[in-house]
């Protein structure tokens, strides 16, 4: 018989949820081990072609290069800040590649890999962090929303958008080109936010076609996951009335398979799913952060052994699915991307000052137009070197 906890309020959490596992526990869905060994799962197993596997590898290498270059650009003063994704490439590429064109993504500010999968020009991501705009891509064109900085706010937008898909009749028709779902991204820290919990309630109440994709990277700036939750995050979903799955977020095959299944479930009209991608933020929260102040280098070293790219590379090599020419080509492509980003970032033009008045409203107000015109006239007085 399970021992009662000392406070008299029922069984100890460990009795209910099992012992805490630093490796994600036995429930972790995994298809490729950190050692590059292909394993199978009764529910989520898929066959992957060599081309798909090489594609995952290429996506992850290029996304990592984007992250490394952006970090360097911030260090050189070209970006105001950068939110690093190092270590989370598999979670993002797996989820991103599971999408269909008509699905819609609501990202936070770290979804560079998902943006890559949606065909967003990486320079447009840099523009936001450089401060030339708030995101210059069209959210509808590639069905990838603008980055949202307020933690968790976008999860409610995701549910509302999914409710719109329901009303448009784009759910559960059986037509694979029509049925659509929403992928909502957030992190372990955001799981503490009211908006995220409210989005779970609305999604469950209306059976909205949405997949909540939480990248549990263990750290909300300096706050560890233990400060956010006493139970494994994916188990919270049950309390809201929909399934939760924990997947190895460093295993691109598993994140792809699980997200694909969850998205299909949503498109079929079976409602929301919570996917917890169990991963680790190898870098800092952003470039302003100093993780050496709050975490052990041992942990970082341990997670290096679970690198999401290395395990795919080992698998590809061991099974003869790549040759040196392919690996070199990807490396060259990464170098080229790096050069393009370095040059392109510096060439991004500052916006015209008066553009700050544009698009405050769909219908400009007279009072704002007067402010704009007044400032324009004021600037005119400085022409000719007077300033």
């Amino acid at each position: 018989m399970a021992q009662q906890s000392g406070d008299g309020f029922g069984p100890d959490l460990a009795d209910v949820f099992g012992p805490a596992h630093s490796d994600g526990g036995p429930e972790l869905v995994q298809l490729l081990t950190p050692e590059g060994e292909r394993v199978h799962h009764p529910e989520f197993d898929l066959d992957f072609s060599a081309e798909e596997l090489r594609g995952f590898y290429r996506d992850m290498v290029l996304t990592r290069r984007l992250d490394v270059e952006a970090t360097a650009l911030q260090r050189h003063g070209e970006l105001g800040i950068w939110a690093q994704l190092l270590g989370q490439e598999a979670a993002q590429i797996g989820a991103g590649r599971a999408l269909r064109p008509q699905d819609h993504v609501f990202p936070t500010y770290r979804e560079h890999g998902v943006a890559w999968c949606r065909g967003i020009d990486p320079l447009q991501l840099l523009g936001l962090f450089r401060g030339v705009d708030h995101g210059s891509w069209d959210p509808e064109e590639r069905h990838f929303g603008l980055y949202t900085i307020v933690i968790g706010a976008q999860c409610l937008h995701a549910v509302g958008y999914a409710m719109g898909m329901q009303r448009d009749g784009d759910v559960g028709t059986g037509d694979p080109d029509r049925d659509a779902a929403v992928l909502a991204h957030f992190g372990d820290g955001a799981s503490s936010q009211g908006d995220v919990n409210e989005s779970f309630i609305f999604a469950a109440s209306y059976n909205a076609p949405v997949v909540f994709f939480c990248q549990n990277n263990q750290w909300a700036i300096s706050e560890p996951i233990e400060r956010q939750s006493r139970i494994p995050l994916y188990q919270r979903a049950l309390g809201f009335g929909f399934p939760g799955i924990r997947v190895d977020g460093n295993d691109v095959l598993a994140t792809y398979a699980v997200t694909r299944a969850a998205l299909q479930r949503a498109r079929d009209g079976q409602g929301p799913t919570f996917v917890e991608a169990y991963t680790y933020r190898m870098g800092a929260h952003t470039t302003t952060d100093d993780p050496t102040r709050y975490r052990l280098s041992d942990d970082v070293e341990r997670w290096k052994l679970r690198d999401p790219i290395a395990r795919v590379e080992v698998y590809l090599k061991r099974n003869g699915l790549v040759d040196e020419a392919f690996l070199e080509a990807v490396a060259d492509e990464a170098d080229q991307l790096g050069a393009t980003l370095r040059e392109g970032c510096k060439a991004l033009p500052d916006p015209a000052p008066l553009s700050m008045f544009d698009h405050v409203y769909a219908e400009m107000t007279e009072e704002l137009a007067a402010q704009r015109d007044g400032y324009a006239a004021y600037r005119e007085t400085f022409e000719g070197g007077v300033a």
Partner: protein, 326 residues
């Protein structure tokens, strides 16, 4: 066709007509469906338009506004009801950080044609959090438009115009006027544009500027002043952001005196903005400083003493007297 209706009925009719005209218009909020809202403003609409268009929501204000953001992104025109003024604050982040900024952030690619309906103001003897006037907090936020109606005819037209507007509109409904007076509503008439203020009583000696629930008080004050031989012009602002100052400035240039009155706290309230603009634009026409009469800078008090908090016609007339004393 003309009929005599209350503000509550006029709003209900306006919502109905907007839903008939555009099937992208959705209503959402707590109790708006089967109950018809706690003030019955949405009465009968779910029955006629269905649960997919008149959506009873979970009890979560941020959730209501945040999901409406997503619906607007998908091409819908959501009209959300916040049950009472004091309950809007859990949704404040979504309103000021998301609703107000998404059009700007997306450089105009994503429109946010949303209406946030808020029954506001006091005078109904409610418990705390049910009588507040948060208009300045929203009018201070670029990206939002803020309007308030003072009578059934405006209520009918303004709610439809707000729904048709491609910008997000905070629509403040003076709850103590919901069932107070009836007016003749001609649904074939041509209404004034939404973002305009209007002189509702002509006068020559001083200008009373008000909006929403206080317009009735201002009109009563003007009637009382007339019996003493003083002619007060009354302006109903109707739009708080953007402010339509033209009728106000024209009036003050004629009368030389201005008193602004509202239920909200005086400090940093709408009256401060109106007074500043009058001073900037018609300083040389003024015979006296612009005076303000508002709720005191206290939390809204217990309802047994709310009549002391709310400006009444005597406090308004006292301010008019002070204006003439200069």
């Amino acid at each position: 066709m003309s009929q005599r209706v209350t503000l509550a009925k006029a709003l209900n009719m306006g919502l109905r007509r907007a839903m008939e005209d555009d099937d992208k218009v959705l209503l959402m909020g707590e109790d708006v469906g089967k109950l018809g809202g706690v003030f019955r403003i949405t009465d009968g609409l779910q029955k006629d338009f269905g649960e997919d268009r008149v959506i009873d929501s979970p009890l979560a204000e941020s959730g209501i506004v945040g999901t409406a953001v997503g619906l607007a992104m998908r091409g819908y025109r959501p009209v959300v009801e916040i049950q009472f003024d004091g309950f809007v604050y859990p949704a404040y982040d979504q309103i000021v950080c998301q609703v107000a900024k998404i059009h700007y952030r997306s450089r105009g690619r994503v429109k946010m044609p949303m209406v946030i309906r808020i029954p506001y103001g006091g005078g109904i003897g409610a418990v705390e959090h049910h009588s507040e006037s948060p208009e300045a907090q929203f009018a201070h936020t670029p990206g939002l438009k803020v309007v308030t109606c003072s009578n059934p005819v405006d209520g009918y037209w303004m709610i439809q115009q707000a729904i048709a507007c491609d910008d997000p509109v905070v629509f403040l409904e003076p709850k103590r006027q919901y069932h107070a007076d009836k007016a003749d509503l001609d649904d074939q008439a041509t209404p004034d544009p939404l973002f305009t203020s209007r002189i509702v009583r002509p006068g020559t000696d001083a200008t009373l500027i008000s909006y929403g629930p206080m317009v009735k008080t201002a009109m009563k004050a003007a009637e009382a002043a007339a019996t003493e031989g003083r002619s007060l012009e009354v302006v109903d602002l109707r739009t708080l952001s953007p402010l339509d100052m033209t009728p106000v400035l024209d009036s003050v240039r004629r009368t030389g005196r201005a008193v602004v009155t509202h239920e909200a706290h005086v400090n940093l309230g709408m009256g401060a903005e109106v007074a500043a603009r009058i001073t900037e634009e018609c300083f040389y026409s003024l015979e006296a400083p612009v005076l303000r009469v508002g709720g005191f800078d206290t939390p809204y008090p217990a309802s047994r003493i709310e009549e002391d908090f709310l400006p009444d016609l005597d406090r308004v007339l006292d301010a008019v007297d002070r204006s003439f004393d200069f």
